[in-house]
């Protein structure tokens, strides 16, 4: 159908979703799309992203306060520091866009939702078992990064402005990098558990 309509680069993914071995996203197309109108400027997009990164940083902090396991605590602190770096990346992007200072960004951001759009209090309640092991923490973190990548991609589709769309694709690309980093951490944790 697509090739018949002039598309020249169409590839079928063998085996479909069942054969996909990477992290998957979930939820309907409209999940958390209430966070955007589609008319946001590039700076406003960064404000939304910053709020969610801060939200995830806070979620890791809350989970760290609740754990008594040293390995999990250490990992949660590391995940928190990774999110702190992501926030600083957004501060730089905000400045590069000419949108304002870090204090402007922080004052406008909303912190009710964490990365991917969920609410921290609900999430922690529903996923408390995942925080009982380093492996569980990392698998959860990877799921959240996959949700964030998915959400930024869906935001990009909604944007009417090309500049905002480009910023969102840049943010989605960052999430791909984050996923790779977490995947490497998980492999090391799983490797330590063998034998």
């Amino acid at each position: 159908m697509l090739t018949g309509k002039g598309f020249t680069q169409v590839f079928n993914v063998k085996g479909g979703i069942k054969a996909w071995e990477g992290v998957k996203a979930w939820g309907p197309v409209e999940l958390n799309m209430d966070l955007v109108t589609g008319e946001e400027s590039p700076g406003e997009v960064v404000v939304i992203a910053y709020g969610m990164e801060e939200g995830l940083w806070r979620l890791y902090g809350t989970a760290a306060e609740r754990t008594s396991q040293s390995e999990v605590l250490s990992l949660l602190e590391r995940l928190g520091s990774i999110e702190e770096r992501h926030k600083q990346d957004l501060v730089r992007l905000y400045a590069d866009l000419g949108a304002g200072s870090e204090s402007d960004l922080r004052s406008q951001a909303v912190y009710e939702r964490f990365e991917g759009g969920g609410r921290a209090d609900v999430f922690l309640k529903e996923n408390d078992q995942a925080f009982e092991s380093a492996e569980g923490c990392l698998q959860l973190a990877m799921m959240l990064e996959a949700q964030a990548l998915d959400l930024y991609s869906r935001f990009a589709e909604r944007m009417s402005g090309m500049s905002a769309r480009e910023v969102l694709y840049k943010l989605a690309e960052e999430e791909k990098t984050h996923l790779g980093l977490l995947g490497g951490l998980l492999e090391r944790v799983l490797g330590r558990g063998k034998g």
Binding site: Q9, V10, K24, A25, E157, Y169
Partner: protein, 74 residues
């Protein structure tokens, strides 16, 4: 009845690992991952960043797809 073989008869097939490698090496937004299943299936699990256009709707929504970018369909 839609014949999937006919729909994909002139389309190359790639292993998921090849698609993952392409995605890893190319920036988000430079390609399209297209999910042609029903919304309920998409909701349960989908490739992160995939665009959903259920197959029965594809003909009428084909203009939503950028022609100049590679499309990975599942």
């Amino acid at each position: 009845m839609i014949n999937l073989k006919q729909l994909f008869s002139h389309v190359s097939s790639l292993d998921p690992a090849e698609v993952k490698a392409y995605i890893a090496e190319n920036p988000a937004g430079s390609y399209t991952i297209l999910d042609v299943r029903q919304s309920g299936e998409y909701e349960k699990a989908h490739i992160p960043g995939a665009k959903l256009i259920p197959l029965p709707e594809l003909d009428g929504r084909v203009n939503e797809l950028p022609r100049e970018k590679p499309i990975f369909v599942y």
